[in-house]
Every structure is written in structure tokens, then in C-alpha cells.
Symmetry: C2
Subunit: 266 residues, 2 copies
Amino acid sequence: MTLRASNQACFRLDLAYDGTDFHGWQAQPGQRTVQGLLQDALLRLLRSEIAVEGAGRTDAGVHAIGQVASFHATTEREPEWLQHALRSVLPADLHVARASLASAEFSARRSAVARTYRYRMRRGPHVFWRRYCLQVSPDLQVDAMREAAAVFIGDHDFTAFAASAAGDRCQCLVERASVLERGPWVDFDVTANRFVHNMVRRVTGALLEVGMGRRTAADLEAILRSHDRARGGPCLAPQGLFLVGVRYPGDPRVEPELYSGFGWND
Amino acid sequence: MTLRASNQACFRLDLAYDGTDFHGWQAQPGQRTVQGLLQDALLRLLRSEIAVEGAGRTDAGVHAIGQVASFHATTEREPEWLQHALRSVLPADLHVARASLASAEFSARRSAVARTYRYRMRRGPHVFWRRYCLQVSPDLQVDAMREAAAVFIGDHDFTAFAASAAGDRCQCLVERASVLERGPWVDFDVTANRFVHNMVRRVTGALLEVGMGRRTAADLEAILRSHDRARGGPCLAPQGLFLVGVRYPGDPRVEPELYSGFGWND
């Protein structure tokens, strides 16, 4: 435990949530949101209005396994107390995996150097998984998707795959983009320094078109270079998308410890 | 395909469903039930009132991976057509894994020689699993539970573990009762020729008390022999319970093919 000179502290929260019943991350009046619930809980526990920042602003229905949040608070409370107290007051679909102290200048959003998302697809029916994946055809050509995914690796302008309302800053450095196959599952994992709104869902949509034989890797390359929002892939349903983890300087892995134990491999 | 002399046929349906949003198996006016939805779908598809019978009457919130249903219908339709048509009209949380023809005397309920249920527990938090298991303490003594589970094997009167409203016929032949541990999961699997209402949830409740050090295997044996409904274990929450499979004469396995692919090992 770091000794603190004053009682102003910066806290980091590692979070997992089931996006099904959330109207996304960002607090909005009258909506059930992750940021809103956290801020309400902190108001109740620390008796002050606290602005909580998140590494990724997940949309309605999008899940998180390794979301990171941060906030500053004037309190003598230890992070262990906070972790326990938050777990007691938050609902079962929003879990604080860890509360810890961070350095005063830490910002969950601005300090992040990379984020990893996973888009999950499942071939065939999926009674118990329908909230956590997109059902796809059993005939999907996964090898073609795997080859096409490589098109996105590198420093690219992702305007073609951005939401129509996304801003102009669409340059993203993608360090990993891979399609994984395991039994009925087909996962698209992507790690980048930043993401544009709807980017993962639209890139996966384009890959799915490749898997269905409607487009080729060369088509995706041409679309990427066109910077034409009308040409990017369809925006897939939110329930397949997971924010898997966030990497900070000095931390070699994108996937935090809590990656395992939250559902897909056990 | 069997040629049918008349157009009166007996159909078998192998079903999986997520019990979360069902008010159980049995049709009830104004309630969303599995039997009700199946009968409504058959009325729409075959244009006649058809009584559908289930091998196990699952309670509200209880899931099924290998439920079996049967019904008689006067139709020229083939089971392949029926399987496809039912999949088209039924919601995503009720899946017809297979529709097939059965012999005229087949009854999903009366022909069954054994049923297998699984009660799932998970140690620690479970954001994405909370609808499909009971969260339990990480300190659970699983070895003690495993030893105690053996108490239930054999031909016993389960009155002590029956619901208060259950009938007097509480004699059940349990051929398997085992506690399985895998990572954070603790599963209680039980196979018997028949089950009394609430039996699996109350037996698992008693095993959980053993796992928490509150009771011993000898206590459970004494409770079983007491035939005293007030002494059996607490009735655990329905969301941990799965009807895994039903065995019929000539079929060596309780677990049907569809056991895999429905969620827990992939």
C-alpha cells in the first residue's frame, strides 16, 4: 500500500459487465448506464459527486471483461474497502474485479496505450449464448476471414468503417487482428491504440461478408483505402462485442488477469 | 424414413431451452411456458389442437439441454419439415434440436427409463453466468460434498427432499449422484428413474450445507431416512438447474448427442 501525503487519491477500477441490460457506458439522464451506476454508488459510499472516466465507451448491449475506470476522490478510504463496498451495492451484472490506487496523473482513458476487443460469432443455434454472440451460418469460410483480417493490421484511416456520426480523427494503429476458430466459435480479436465509433462491429461485418463468399480480402483493402463510410461492412449486433482489456505503459499484456474466469474458457 | 400406413403419426422433439424467461414447462393461461409455446406453434403449423407431453416438467427458471417431448398428429408432414417449421416460428430461447418420428406407443414421459439433471454452482463472481448457475463461496469443501453425494445412490424414499405439495410417491431409484469440480465450477449430476418435485434443488441444497461444513454425510443419511420434509435441504434457486437428458429403452446413454454444443464445455 502506498502512503498518501494528502487524502486526495486516484483510484483505478477493473470492471466486468454484462451489457445486456445497460444503455451503454456513458451516463445519461433516466438511463441505466455503467458510468451512471458507478457514479451513483460512489455518491452513496463517499458522499461526494465523483466523475468516473472509462477507457472505452461501450455502446448499449456491448459487454466488458476488462474495462478500466478511474476517478479522483478526497477520502481516507483504502481501495480494499472501496472494492468490498462497491461489490455490496452494485448489481450482479456489474462486477468490480479490483479497486486499486493509481498515480495522481493516471487516467483510464488518456493513459491507455492499447485496447483489445473481441467480436464473438457462433455457428449454429445457441440457446444459452444468444446474449453473448452473433449466430452465424455453419458454412462460414473461416480461412478466408483469417486471411482478410490481416488487411486491417497497421496504421490506417478507418473512415470507411466509422459510424456516420463519428468525428474526423479515424487514424488507428492496429497491432493485432486475428480470427480464431474453436469448435462452434469464431472470434475476431483486435488490438489497437484507439478505435473509432462502431469500428469493430463494422470491420467484423465486412469479415463476415468475406466468410460468406460475398467479398474478398482485396475488396476489404479497397474499401479501407476508399475512406467511404457507405462502403464499410454492416454494423453487427452489439451483443457479440466484448471489451476484453486495456493496456497501460509498463504493462506488457493487454489481457489482464481477470480475462480468464469471466466466462468463455471455463 | 418409416412409411406410415395411416397419416396418424407420433413425433418426438428433442429440445433445449433457456428457462430464464419461461414460467416453466407446463401450459398455463396467460403465462409464457414451453409446453404452451409448442402447442401454439403446432396449432399454427398443423392447424389442429395438439397435446404435447414432456419427459420432465421443469419449473419456472429451470433450463433444459435434453428435454424430450412427444405428441400425436394427423398429418402427412415429414419430421424434417416440422423441425424446420418449428425452428422458424419458435423464439431464440426455445430450440428444437431434432424432430423425429417415434413408434405409435412412444410417450416422452411414460417411456422414459431415466432422467439426468445437473445443478451448477460457481465459486466466486460470475457476471456472464448468473442466469445459469448459483454463486457459491470459494471456500466450499468439494471433497466432503462428493462423499456425501454417494448417500443418495440407490432405491430410497425421498420424502424428506420433496416439495411440501408433492404427492406420496417419493420412491426413486438413483443410479448416479456425483459432484464434479472443474476450475470455478462445481456441478452436481444426478440420474434416476424418476424425480419428486423440488428433489434436485433440495438435495443439492443439503450437499451445499455439507460443503459449507454445516452438515456431514451421516447427517444427510439420517435426514433421508427420517422421511421428514422439514429436515431436507433448502430449495436452491432454479437458475442453477438443467434437465440434461432423458433415456429410453434401447438407448444406452442418458446424455443425447445434443448434450455437447449447448453451452458448458465450449
